[in-house]
């Protein structure tokens, strides 16, 4: 399949969002709102739930489902408050020794006056910095769009998985085409160049698992639940220092010539 067809699928209306994943994989989800600094950013959902019998922290970027919901969630583009809310929940997870599971689905962190004024770059930088040494297992799953730094803020993890028809990229194919060829209609070509599909990223060792979508959404939820249980049970037995060293080395290897 052409890369841009996958881009279209990853962005499609009606594609399952973080909310669906939370409802179908976990039980007793309790949402915890707010960053205790400025506001509650609806583009990020965070809270605690059971994965089978294990309490876990769940954080996800939420694009919204119907039009009204999408607007209230800013189409999944988080403000700095969203990242600060996420970071607060990550730190609580560490305190209570809960694994962290992140769902990524965003075209990118929001670009706006307020977002800049309140330190969008600083908020993302703080997530990367603290996730690197968060003393609990972290697993990140890209379910739709993984747009640049705004996605990476929730994807500094022990393992990063992708749904088969999701994408992960440093820049949108449209943005790339308009910089490269001054022509955003060449997005399909740019999408090929960027190697942003799960298949390409698996080949490049950027991600650890690709979750098949061939057997339908229900099967994807079940697969993810099973894989999460396996991975978390295994990583809960790893020594804290080993876990962090492994996470460091996971990213250290990229571009180590």
């Amino acid at each position: 399949m052409a890369a841009y067809d996958i881009v279209t699928k990853a962005r499609a209306n009606g594609r399952a969002t973080t909310k669906n994943y939370i409802e179908n994989i976990f039980t007793d989800f309790i949402e915890l709102h707010g960053d205790r600094r400025f506001s509650d950013d609806n583009a990020v959902i965070s809270g605690i739930a059971f994965l089978d019998t294990t309490p876990v922290t769940v954080i996800g970027l939420e694009k919204g489902q119907d039009t009204k919901d999408k607007i209230s969630r800013n189409f999944g583009s988080a403000q700095p408050e969203g990242y600060r809310k996420a970071l607060r929940q990550m730190q609580l997870a560490e305190k209570f020794n809960r694994p962290v599971i992140c769902f990524v689905d965003t075209s990118g962190a929001y670009c706006g006056i307020g977002a800049e004024e309140r330190g969008q770059g600083q908020a993302i930088a703080e997530c990367l910095y603290n996730l690197m040494t968060l003393k609990v297992p972290v697993i990140s799953i890209i379910i739709g769009e993984g747009g640049s730094g705004g996605a990476l803020a929730l994807a500094v993890a022990d393992e990063v998985w992708m749904l088969e028809n999701s994408i992960y990229s440093v820049i949108s194919p449209e943005g790339c085409a308009s910089i490269l060829w001054k022509d955003s209609s060449k997005a399909a070509e740019a999408a090929e160049c960027l190697k942003l599909t799960s298949k390409e990223l698996y080949k490049l060792n950027i991600i650890d698992k690709v979750i098949s979508e061939k057997l339908g959404q229900k099967q994807s939820y079940e697969t993810i639940k099973r894989l999460l249980l396996e991975t978390i049970n295994a990583s809960m037995n790893i020594d804290e220092n080993d876990l962090l060293e492994k996470r460091y080395q996971r990213f250290r290897k990229f571009g180590n010539t």
Partner: protein
């Protein structure tokens, strides 16, 4: 993407053992003087360079290349450069990237968009990285990420502070996802250095944007900026296109970041070396 400065790499008297011979004459503008974009006065290149590339009339801070910055901060002959030979490769076979790299190497006389190493600052040992605006506008690819990561690892092992000069348009698109991964990789090395209770100072210069702002530029224990430097996550044009309105005056400028609380201070080039020396001394580095 950020537009380049009004003139190319200015000629400056290079001191010490620094790669003087590699500066190609093609980079030196033929004109003997430039017009200050801030006050419109004509400035002689020689005088400008003697004045740390700062306008003597209005204090406008011109863009400065990485070697000039090093000469300004490091004690004479004290800089020992690390990993000079690391060069980017076109890992993803991205169109025109090979050519772009070659041109950037010629334009900047550098192998990559950052130089790293150790130096003495008023006799105090420090690790240092200086990003290069004349190499693809300091964009961060795998080699930039690798060199900065290595200097943090070296500083952790040798218990050195790190001083980092940032200038960057952001992540390097031509290296795709691998450039995004550098944000995480460098952040890991910065965090380890910090957990060793070592000092990291970032100096933000014009412009510091995108993935660099969203990672190591904003992770300093102390963050300072040069006057009038543009610092932000999204570029001003992207924001204008998104919100379809004009941005307020001074938006994303250093003075604005000082007001909103994201940097600790603004320090003029002329005072920078003494300022950094005092900070190092206040953290018990000798």
């Amino acid at each position: 993407m950020i537009r380049k400065g009004i003139f190319k790499k200015p000629k400056i008297a290079l001191e010490g053992n620094i790669k003087q011979s590699k500066t190609p004459s093609a980079n030196i503008p033929n004109e003997m003087c430039v017009c200050c974009p801030s006050c419109n006065k004509m400035l002689f290149n020689d005088e400008l360079n003697e004045n740390l590339v700062v306008c003597s009339y209005c204090n406008h801070h011109f863009r400065m290349n990485s070697r000039q910055r090093l000469n300004m901060i490091a004690d004479e002959d004290s800089f020992i450069e690390h990993n000079t030979d690391l060069k980017s490769e076109n890992i993803l076979d991205f169109p025109n990237y090979d050519k772009k790299l070659k041109n950037s190497q010629l334009e900047s006389s550098e192998n990559e968009a950052v130089i790293t190493g150790v130096c003495k600052i008023n006799s105090i040992n420090s690790a240092i990285f200086v990003m290069e605006p004349y190499f693809m506008m300091g964009s961060m690819g795998t080699v930039v990420g690798e060199k900065i990561t290595r200097i943090f690892e070296f500083a952790s092992e040798n218990r050195l502070p790190v001083i980092g000069f940032c200038v960057s348009g952001g992540a390097r698109m031509q290296e795709g996802i691998l450039s995004l991964m550098q944000m995480a990789k460098v952040s890991g090395a910065v965090k380890k250095h910090s957990d060793n209770r070592l000092l990291y100072i970032t100096v933000l210069t014009d412009p510091t944007m995108g993935g660099v702002t969203a990672s190591f530029a904003m992770q300093g224990d102390i963050i300072i900026a040069e006057p009038n430097a543009l610092v932000g996550f999204a570029g001003p044009r992207v924001i204008e296109q998104t919100i379809r309105q004009k941005l307020p005056d001074g938006f994303q400028k250093a003075e604005y970041l000082l007001k909103t609380g994201f940097i600790n201070d603004i320090v003029e080039r002329k005072k920078l070396k003494e300022y950094l020396t005092k900070l190092l001394q206040l953290h018990n580095y000798k």
